[in-house]
């Protein structure tokens, strides 16, 4: 099979035009791991790469002793970092480490709590307060919190906390689209197959639930809208708590989900700095379906065009939808649209690109193209497979003819 490849020149121009300048890895993050009822060895390198991808973090990893090991030896220097990412669920830390952690947060340090990290330290009240809600807590720690319709419910019923139904894809509802972490996210988006944590309880102090998901009873859920993304304040510190991210053998859909990735990246920035400078990417999932990043990387325009060049009807249209989103967001002037048009023309001229892919491009050019496209589209009139679509495009681009 011929592989559709792009001209080197195109890539160079494209990089110059479209790659956003990253400001440099100004912020220091530490991932803490080493014990977890989940496969932390799989997820830790992924989380590290995800944070580094933002271009604003340099990331270290601190690995605790194994379960049952001497925790007195575990003394990370929290104060060297702006944000601590907890991929940890295991033995209690030493009193010294705990008090250093509290100091760190009180003084304005950021904390990110990922998935099973909210099972940790049920006997450590300060930690319970930081995470807001968690597993393994009881009525002594605070109420169950969830949503019913548009209302947050504080439920003081007695009982242990934590649970999940069968693993499933589920729709996340963004409850606050004005918070720095969730600003610009779609109101509803499909998350990749994951555990849907339920029945969380805790102090819930200084806490806001940014997103929820309905846990369907048919799949072992509670029938409630359960908290998915949570933020709290502890002292001067900011804590971002995501219940998403159940890592599989090599990651899997829960952490390949662009929704998980982007909220983790944004949440970590917010925890570190109080603001979010990252743009919501084009591949953020929508109500139309999940968006999984196979290599944990956002598709570039070049990637999209290469995939469109290889498109046939059996393949995903997400790259084309991605291109359309880029054009909608960035093609706001004739000049900017022409930057896209150059690459689209190149695709039309490329012999290795599929006819199905070219049809998609022709349809898009029919409204956003310019005179630049007319000669190459005119040539396609000679191609029986593309004749109709070329005519369609020309009829719109040259209405007088």
């Amino acid at each position: 099979m011929k592989k559709y490849s792009f001209l080197a020149i195109a890539c160079v121009i494209m990089l110059a035009l479209f790659s956003a300048c990253k400001s440099g890895a100004d912020h220091r993050a530490l991932i803490i791991t080493g014990q977890n009822n989940h496969n932390w060895k799989v997820t830790t390198p992924i989380f590290k790469v995800l944070l580094e991808q933002t271009g604003i973090f340099s990331v270290d990893v601190a690995v605790s002793p194994d379960k049952g090991g001497d925790m007195n030896k575990f003394t990370p220097k929290f104060s060297n970092y702006e944000v601590i990412v907890l991929n940890y669920s295991g033995d209690s830390w030493s009193e010294k480490t705990k008090s250093e952690f509290i100091e760190f947060v009180k003084n304005g340090g950021g904390v990110v709590v990922v998935h099973a990290a909210d099972n940790s330290f049920p006997d450590w009240p300060a930690y319970s307060e930081m995470i807001g809600l968690g597993w393994g807590r009881t009525e002594k720690d605070g109420p169950f919190v969830y949503f019913k319709g548009d209302k947050m419910v504080i439920d003081t019923t007695a009982g242990p906390s934590g649970g999940h139904g069968e693993r499933q894809e589920f729709t996340v509802r963004t409850r606050n689209t004005q918070h720095p972490i969730t600003k610009g996210l779609p109101p509803r988006w499909m998350h990749g197959k994951d555990e849907l944590y339920s029945k969380l309880r805790g102090p819930a102090k200084n806490m806001e639930i940014l997103a929820t998901a309905f846990a369907p009873p048919g799949k072992g859920g509670t029938g409630r809208d359960e908290p998915i993304l949570i933020v709290t304040n502890y002292g001067k510190g900011r804590i971002f708590h995501t219940v998403l991210g159940h890592g599989d053998v090599d990651g899997g859909p829960a952490i390949q989900c662009a929704g998980f990735i982007v909220t983790l990246q944004r949440g970590t920035e917010w925890a570190a700095t109080g603001q979010v400078t990252q743009k919501v990417p084009y591949d953020f999932p929508t109500a139309a379906g999940t968006s999984l990043r196979v290599n944990y990387q956002e598709m570039t325009l070049e990637d999209d065009l290469i995939k469109i060049g290889g498109y046939d009807i059996t393949k995903s249209t997400k790259y084309f939808v991605d291109l359309q989103s880029r054009i909608r967001a960035e093609g706001t002037t004739p000049e900017k649209r022409q930057q896209f048009e150059h690459f689209m023309i190149e695709l039309l001229e490329n012999k290795a690109a599929t006819d199905e892919g070219k049809k998609l491009i022709l349809r898009e050019l029919s409204w956003m193209g310019s005179d630049l496209s007319i000669p190459v589209i005119t040539k396609l009139l000679q191609n029986p497979a593309l004749k109709d679509d070329a005519k369609f495009a020309l009829a719109r681009l040259q209405p007088t003819k």
Binding site: K41, P45, K48, D250, Y296
Partner: protein
Amino acid sequence: MNELNRRNFIKRSAAFAASVIVAPSLIPASALGKNGSVAPSDRINLVMIGSGNQGLNDMGEFLKDSRVQITGICDVNKMSGGYWSGNMGGREVGIKKVNDYYSELYQKNYTGCKGYEDFREVIARKDVDAVEVVLPDHWHSIPVLMAAKAGKNIYCQKPLALTIPEGIAMANAVKKYGVTFQTGSQQRSDENFRRVCELVRNGRIGKLLTVECGLPAGTPDYGKTGNLTNTMPVPAGFDYQTWLGPAPDAPYCPARTHVNFRWVLDYSGGQLTDWGGHHPDIAQWGMDTEHTGPVKIQNAKVEWAVHPIWNSAAHYYFECVYANGVKLIISDKLQSGVTFRGTEGWARGNRGSHTVFPESLRETVIKPSEIHLYKSDNHFRNFIDCVISKKETIAPVEIAHRSITMSHLGNIAMKLQQDLNWDPKKEQFIHNDLANSMLKRKMREPWASIYKQLLVS
């Protein structure tokens, strides 16, 4: 050309080995046949000891190498089914394959490939330069010890040996007699595994935490003899008693022999030792523990095969803990291949492909100042290269012995259902006489005595 001259040729070639590719004209014309290939009389004479499915595969590879002449085929079975996919195998099949190949190559009827039933006859011949030992595992140590003593170069299939002490004995003999030895762990000559190991060795995945070896499960009926478990007369042309050799006496049935020997613990260690010579071998390559081993075997879980004859592990899991804390997990429950997990990424080698995380590792360049592993792109040619050059092969005996050790330890831990502390220096379990007693197997006579006489230190 007599024996001495042939040896001289090999040595001369060694001197040129480095320059062969650059300046092939340096090879003396006299060493070349009419069409520029090596003349038959100047080639390395090799005899296949074993002509089952793997032997037939491997001889195909040696036939392709114009520096090799396969002069004989040795097997205790004349010809029968019960090999791979139930296909035919045995001595006559191998002889025909070799003769057909050379007839085609020389464009004349070739009948020069000699048949042997007794491997000792092969080893006694002065005109044999090399042998491949490609027999069931219980038949690896004795032929290798004898061949080494006779100065033969040896290509021996993995897993190296049936037991750890036999492996030690083989390593000692090869070392003492200075012969060239290649183990059939051919994954070492797959660039995918080499690349993954180089990434790990050079810290590209951060601090190494865990290595996972995902091996196959079960006891697949490769020979299509799995239901032939009743005792029956030994077929004509099959020397079953010699086939059993040092292994315990057992009534004959087809399910026990040929390719399905793999599932009987008297002759092998099941999938675990079959693949134990591959993925754990790569694991130790990447971990840089090729000359040592774990200090502890723990959390062993097993489901043994349920079958009248077959008794190897169908499902298995155990962890090998190394002195530096790295854990090697070997199981049929893991993703197939060898996965190295570190604090900053992972790398998985598999046959013909490898996967890395993050993706950027795919492009990372190993600088000249960094660790570069032994490079071989063809496992069989590497053996012949080394026979000529006298350099070390890509899969030498000591490393192969250390590679298969984990699987042997795992089988013992699974049988005992306990965690075991291992001293990789002394190659003994620590304070566990029961476990230590299971390291070696009792051999039947006369082979027990023959084996003892062959031992060197």
